[in-house]
Symmetry: C2
Subunit: 189 residues, 2 copies
Amino acid sequence: MSHNEEISVQEAILFTHKMAQLSKALWKTIEKDWQSWIKPFDLNINEHHILWIAYHLKGASVSEISKFGVMHVSTAFNFSKKLEARNLLTFSKRENDKRNTYIEITPKGEKLLLETMQAYKPENNSIYKGVQPLKELYGKFPDFLELIALIRQVYGPEYLDILNRSMRSIESEYKEPAMEDHSNESDWN
Amino acid sequence: MSHNEEISVQEAILFTHKMAQLSKALWKTIEKDWQSWIKPFDLNINEHHILWIAYHLKGASVSEISKFGVMHVSTAFNFSKKLEARNLLTFSKRENDKRNTYIEITPKGEKLLLETMQAYKPENNSIYKGVQPLKELYGKFPDFLELIALIRQVYGPEYLDILNRSMRSIESEYKEPAMEDHSNESDWN
């Protein structure tokens, strides 16, 4: 191995080690907060995520749930089946797409999801609390543009398109126009 | 709830939803790449992480491994015990600190860890590949400063101090001075 190749391997190890430590720390905190948030509702994170996606995407195929939920197809399928058994969602085929199985949230599932949303307390969320100094400094939430650019490279633009769709759907839950930051993405204009 | 409070809850939900999606996507990719990297060595991620920390921190207490490895104390302890059974590390008390159990990597553990490092192929790492367009644009790896600031808020400055220690230790593995970016953190100056 040449000296330059060695340096480039070292650079890669340093960079990916740093990203592994930052990303594990971030995700484990988010996971823990998410678990405590939905614990009273007898749902695990995967189940809540599936209901969330089915609701905000107004129905989704198992492969969409797997992709946007960042879970294996069999995980998406198995937890969806458990939710179906509790009448929180239904499986169906679509007229124009007989090959894929679609998932639709039921009124009971919608009611449960909205109850979880009402139980959401920003003050219990470590990420929300941790971001406050940056928010005060910037006058808005930080954009994490480098992180978004990296995820776009790794997961493709569709992943971020679905994220935008689900965020617009959350915004449209609220009757009055929200803060300026998101006005260009909103459905009310 | 007042209209302003509603907006602030909505803002919090939007922000934490976005962070959950970005962070889950990032971590799951890193986890998957890490698993494939160390698969040939009969180690799981936790075991590899423990060896890594014990090596680069030149010994560590179980609670340091738990904190920097972002794993539960019992996880850190149990996997350390498994590594001890394979003679990859040893447990000991320190003269000046009888209360904590310290973990030291053995020569056999060091040999195995270095073998994993030699098997590291940047071209198999999705994060390394995904970051290339940013690296070309910036002329260096992106800094992810917002992410670091957030982790500093949530985990405290010690977490990043340990990260810097482990990165300096990786750098010092290489005989020749590395790239400029890290020269101000290096041990050679």
